[in-house]
């Protein structure tokens, strides 16, 4: 049936399969089938970044990403960053610098930091702002988030 798909993809390092309807986004599948809520929908329009996940190593808005497109891809969510119970250095940096308040935007900020540091391991403030400018924080924790990213660059 063309309205429904069986998808095979890698999720946080594990090969998995799931069934999704064509009009479902990858967020719905992550939440329903895998109990992962780190990527979460807020604006629903690609603007805020709360729904960020990495697909084949690059950040996308999960709220606009059709689940079917995940077939064959490698997906990483914020839950997949820690290694053997140890937080990823970016997560440590966000804890150390308290780069959050309500925390709803935080996974997106962390994953975007990962993309940034992948391209610019020693980012300038300009580069930090450039990469993060499409992630919004309604608590406006921006100054502490920038501090967290700077710290993350030291730790990674």
């Amino acid at each position: 049936m063309t309205h429904q798909r069986t998808l095979s993809f890698t999720l946080n390092g594990r090969p998995v399969t799931a069934t999704a309807r064509t009009h479902e986004t990858i967020l719905e599948v992550l939440q329903r089938d895998f109990g992962l809520f780190g990527a979460r929908e807020s604006c629903g329009q690609g603007l805020c970044g709360c729904c960020t996940l990495l697909v084949n190593g690059t950040a996308v808005s999960g709220c606009l990403y059709l689940a079917a497109f995940a077939d064959g891809a490698e997906l990483v969510t914020v839950e997949g960053l820690a290694r053997g119970g140890t937080q990823h250095p970016i997560q440590c940096a966000f804890v150390e610098k308290s780069g959050f308040q309500c925390g709803f935007c935080t996974p997106g900020m962390i994953l975007m930091t990962k993309e940034l540091l992948g391209r610019h391991p020693r980012p300038t403030d300009e580069q930090i702002r450039h990469y993060l400018s499409g992630n919004l924080c309604r608590c406006a924790t921006y100054p502490d988030i920038i501090e967290s990213v700077r710290r993350a660059a030291e730790l990674v």
């Binding site: 009009h23 808005s61 059709l66 079917a68 975007m112 450039h130 499409g134």
Partner: protein
Amino acid sequence: MKAFELVEPATIDDAIALLDAGDPGVRAVAGGSALVPMMKARLFQPTRLVSLRRIGGALRGIHAGDGGLRIGALATLTELEHSTRVRDAAPVMSRALRTLSNVRIRNVATLGGHLAHGDPHMDLPPILLTLGARVRVAGRGGERWIDINDLFLGYYQTAVAAGELITEVHVSAQPHDARTWYEKFTALSADDWPTVGAAVWYRTAGDRIGEARVAVSAATERPVRIAAAEQILTGAAPSAETFGAAADAAAAAVDPLADIRGSAAYKREMVRVHVRRALEKAR
């Protein structure tokens, strides 16, 4: 969103065959970054989406040659942003890409989708109008080229017909002395769609402007070249007066649409200011 049929053909021909349904509910989807928001807002409910993502080769890649840049329709905006070929051939594009939406969107959005969508607020169309470009289109009846000047017909309307696909975009080779600039003005938050986009291109011959191109977007129902401004520039000295006169002509020529980012009068004024600034900054 509502259920629809999703097909993922492996070739351009198959894609075209699947598209040609004479049904407005059938559309191609590339990055989905323009289409899915419309579907979520229930402005568009497809019956069938033809995904291009499994089509390889011909639709991908960024090539530079004597004739300019050849960019596959599926090249993502991120690929363009980081491409040294684009930076060398058209630095004005690289700069504009940095403020075009955000990293997540650029990671999936494609040049083909960007142009086919016909949204007057897009940042690259006015730039391509000034650089000179052609869009290669394939359909049941074969292939054709559309000059960029003929691509944008109206509000969300392009010359790409229902059953056709953009396969490639060809950006003209730029003469060494061409000066270019793009001014993006956002009226609300700094990071936003443009309220006005102003792209300029000119060359000088001696102490005069030899040839000039001016394009405006976002304020208008489609990205447009401004002939009146170009005429003023051509043959004139590249001075503050000339630039001011060209900017006035651009402001007089446009027919701005009012929206929550500004009234028609305000946008007209912003066209004036930003065309002038773009001319002053062109390099």
